[in-house]
Amino acid sequence: MPEEKKIYNKGFVVAGLIIFITIFMFPFWYNLGKAAPVPEPVLTEKAKAAKECIEPKSYMKAEHMQILDDWRSSVVRDENRVYVSSKEKEFDMSLSNTCLDCHSNKADFCDKCHNYASVNPYCWDCHIDKPKENK
């Protein structure tokens, strides 16, 4: 007959385990069903009227940071300041003067998602966020 295995101080161990698991799981239970909804960027009237951004929406959603990075290199380092979109439309490569011309609602358009995703782009340390405000 095999020797029976026995837990010493069973009461303490089980109670301790329950307390530990309760405390450990507390944040999960506490936030259960309270997941912040994915924010939807708000379009201004001007952006809505334009129907499409410089490229299709799905592409902009996924690649806007890469586009802006390319724009900055192109404008600053190569002095090429005009972007030709896949639909052969030409745009001035400027964050403040082109992007924010339509998307003049930085707080509702940019910040909302950036805050949700916890990314802090430092564009706005230098680039002015509301080009049309004082005009």
Partner: protein
């Protein structure tokens, strides 16, 4: 080494499998939203002013006092969002006035004529041909454009200030503080700078791209003349041919592009 038919078939089979895996990898690598990036097409702006080497001639005979320089300095500072700091050690300078003996220390003369002695000289970045700041910059934040302009990429500037030490003209300023609260009137079309970067005159690259002359030239009423130094027909070259001009600290071999008619 002995090769049986069996091992040969084994290796051939595995190789065939390996080759057939490649299209599968490709299918994963390229999707509509990620990585399926088309080659971006970019162009220079139409109607932009271009040159092989931009230069500026300052006709100091057209200036009488510091008052004549004020609108020129003001025009530059306004469009480039230059902050005004009370503390001189934090001062940001793109274009400013200087006494002759300080602007041209190697031409200093004990008994210089009264006009030159009292005349304020307009000084700015010399857009040197062989710019020491470009050589000093460890990140290539300061670099030379094809049109001869010594440009700055503020995204890359780490604020080490090597360029400030290298520049013999004091044309560079460091942002010791966040400049934004100290900008009187913000030009919404031009970015500001942030704390921790060096800045200087950019020869109004952004205006040249729009086909406009630099702001200081526009505001000078003909005292400042801007043009291509490499073009023998340019106004700048004609002026240099017909007038005696001096440049700042030429002995250092930096090759300044700012000429002064005295």
């Amino acid at each position: 080494m002995e090769n049986s038919r069996r091992t040969f078939l084994k290796i051939a089979g595995i190789s065939a499998l390996g080759l057939s895996a490649k299209p599968v990898f490709n299918a994963f690598a390229v999707s509509e939203e990620h990585g399926g990036k088309k080659e971006a097409k970019v162009l220079p702006k139409k109607g932009a002013l271009t040159a092989k080497r931009w230069a500026l001639v300052i006709d100091t005979t057209k200036f009488k006092s510091a008052k004549d320089l004020e609108p020129i300095i003001e025009a530059c500072h306004k469009i480039h969002n230059i902050p005004v700091f009370e503390n001189k050690r934090h001062e940001i300078k793109w274009i400013w006035e200087e006494e002759f003996k300080h602007a041209f220390p190697d031409l200093e003369n004990e008994h210089i004529n009264d006009r030159i002695k009292s005349l304020p000289f307009l000084v700015l970045c010399n857009q040197c041909q062989d710019a020491p700041c470009v050589r000093a910059c460890p990140t290539k934040a300061t670099f030379k454009q094809e049109d001869g302009i010594v440009a700055m990429d503020f995204h890359r500037c780490i604020g080490c200030r090597f360029c400030m030490a290298a520049c013999p003209y004091g044309s560079r300023s460091f942002n010791f503080r966040d400049p934004r609260p100290f900008i009187k009137e913000t030009n919404k079309k031009f970015p500001t700078r942030m704390k921790g970067v060096v800045e200087k005159c950019n020869f109004c690259s952004e205006l040249l791209a729009e086909g406009k002359q630099p702001a200081c030239v526009e505001a000078s009423g003909g005292a400042l003349i801007f043009g291509d130094l490499e073009d023998p027909e340019s106004e700048v070259r004609k002026l240099l041919k017909s007038n005696y001009t001096i440049r700042r600290k030429t002995a250092l071999g930096t090759g300044p592009s700012i000429y002064y008619i005295v």
